[in-house]
Subunit: 238 residues, 2 copies
DNA sequence: CGAGCACTTGAAAGATTTCAAGTCCAGTGG
DNA sequence: CCACTGGACTTGAAATCTTTCAAGTGCTCG
């Protein structure tokens, strides 16, 4: 199982490959390790904009997103907001928490989740080496994602951030066929994820549309020129 | 994939109190778990500005910083640079890596490291539950640190970033007694860590000095008013 | 059909960066 | 021992990018 992850990781340097790695968490073998948990799982539904867990809550459960989209949110005193990441179907939430969450998780749209008691996860991890290893690798992958975002937020321009975001969504959104992205999140969420204002997000998207790089229809964006987007995204040196 | 263990920018509630909480993550028991590795360790020295490992290198070793300061670096094609974090004596590096590093690690000043073969770490982890658990928690803590930095880079102003940085250093620098910080890193490193330019770093520091909040003597900064700094840092809502 | 909300777009304001000089030491060589 | 040189750090002024403030559009829902 770990072999699968490692093999994928070899394709380093190719930005697209790198991104997909971050989400390809569910390989056949690793699904087996996680499958042990299934018997302890409960399926729950959460409506759009409802909280799944709050910032500072005890980490009593872990989750797997079955359908829909979830955002992880940190709020500052004055209301400034940072969305750490968007989680899509198949993504996991809370498996790498300590005993409390340091961010809230909210449903972006109506979502279905599979929920597992954390102490079952911990108990199983104690006795199952494969699962343990799997959990550690998953957390490492989350960390790698976070580090890529540090570069995005610390060093990229607004256009580069938007381009990177669109390319990431093109790979991660379920059914993003033919370069058509049905974005579940609004412009405000995108802005709070990319460290921009909603106006800047709109302006950059508008610019890309006028250039012919993308087409926009409300929440659906079609990538018309992904080479242009990739150049604009300025990925890391390799 | 940074491997800072005992530190975290955990920011709920009283930021200072919270920070020390995670420091105590290194309990006697957990130190014992890591102590198993000691027999496989080698001590090495690296001169200032030399590379410890490159971006993309196979993760053959893990490290513990014995003395000095290390920076983790990501470079973009055009030379823009992001420093993920600074590691101080006692911090760990590479324990949460996958099979390659996605960032370089460089000595900020002359450093002494203790180096452990990764496969020994993995082998021990397979058979030792305490160590395994310890590794997972360490990675989770790194992740929490990274998330706090996402807020800093995505939503804080230049002054807030500098204030947060100084407060973090006040806690993490070995021997930061009496609010005197001997910063091992230069202004350029600080800028590349905080997503700013060197000029902005200088200007904000100069402003704080003129205000009487800090005093500056080359690489040594004295905090004269830490309440002012804490207010300026704008920590997270709790 | 009107209200409300999300999204757009324009114009002015503001924060940070860029460009350009300096200043201040530490180390070097005379 | 002292002047000199290079690098790190400061500081000022103009340029630039993004935000803020303001309006306006368009769609959805009641």
């Amino acid at each position: 199982m770990q072999a699968t992850i490692q093999r994928t990781e070899q394709r380093f340097g190719n930005a697209a490959a790198q991104r997909s790695v971050l989400r390809s968490a569910i390989t056949p073998a690793s699904r087996d390790a996680l499958a042990l948990l299934e018997q302890f799982g409960t399926t729950i539904s959460v409506h759009a904009d409802r909280e799944i867990h709050g910032q500072g809550d005890a980490a009593a459960y872990c989750y797997r997103i079955v359908t829909g989209c979830v955002r992880t949110v940190k709020l500052m005193e004055d209301g400034r907001r940072q969305i750490g990441e968007f989680l899509m179907a198949g993504d996991l939430l809370g498996f790498d928490a300590l005993d409390t969450f340091d961010f809230a998780a909210e449903a972006v749209c109506d979502v279905t989740l599979r929920r597992y008691p954390r102490r079952m996860v911990d108990a199983l991890a104690e006795s199952n080496v494969a699962l343990t290893r799997r959990l550690r690798d998953m957390t490492s992958i989350s960390l790698r994602t976070a580090h890529a975002r540090l570069v995005l937020l610390g060093r990229k321009t607004a256009s580069e951030r938007i381009a990177s975001f669109l390319l990431e969504m093109a790979e991660r959104l379920p059914g993003a066929h033919d370069h058509v992205l049905d974005l579940p999140m609004g412009r405000t969420d995108i802005a709070d994820h990319l460290g921009l204002t909603i106006e800047t997000v709109c302006r950059v998207l508008g610019h890309l549309r006028r250039e012919g790089t993308i087409a926009i229809e409300r929440s659906s964006i079609t990538i018309r020129n992904d080479v242009a987007l990739q150049q604009m995204a300025s990925e890391l040196r390799h």
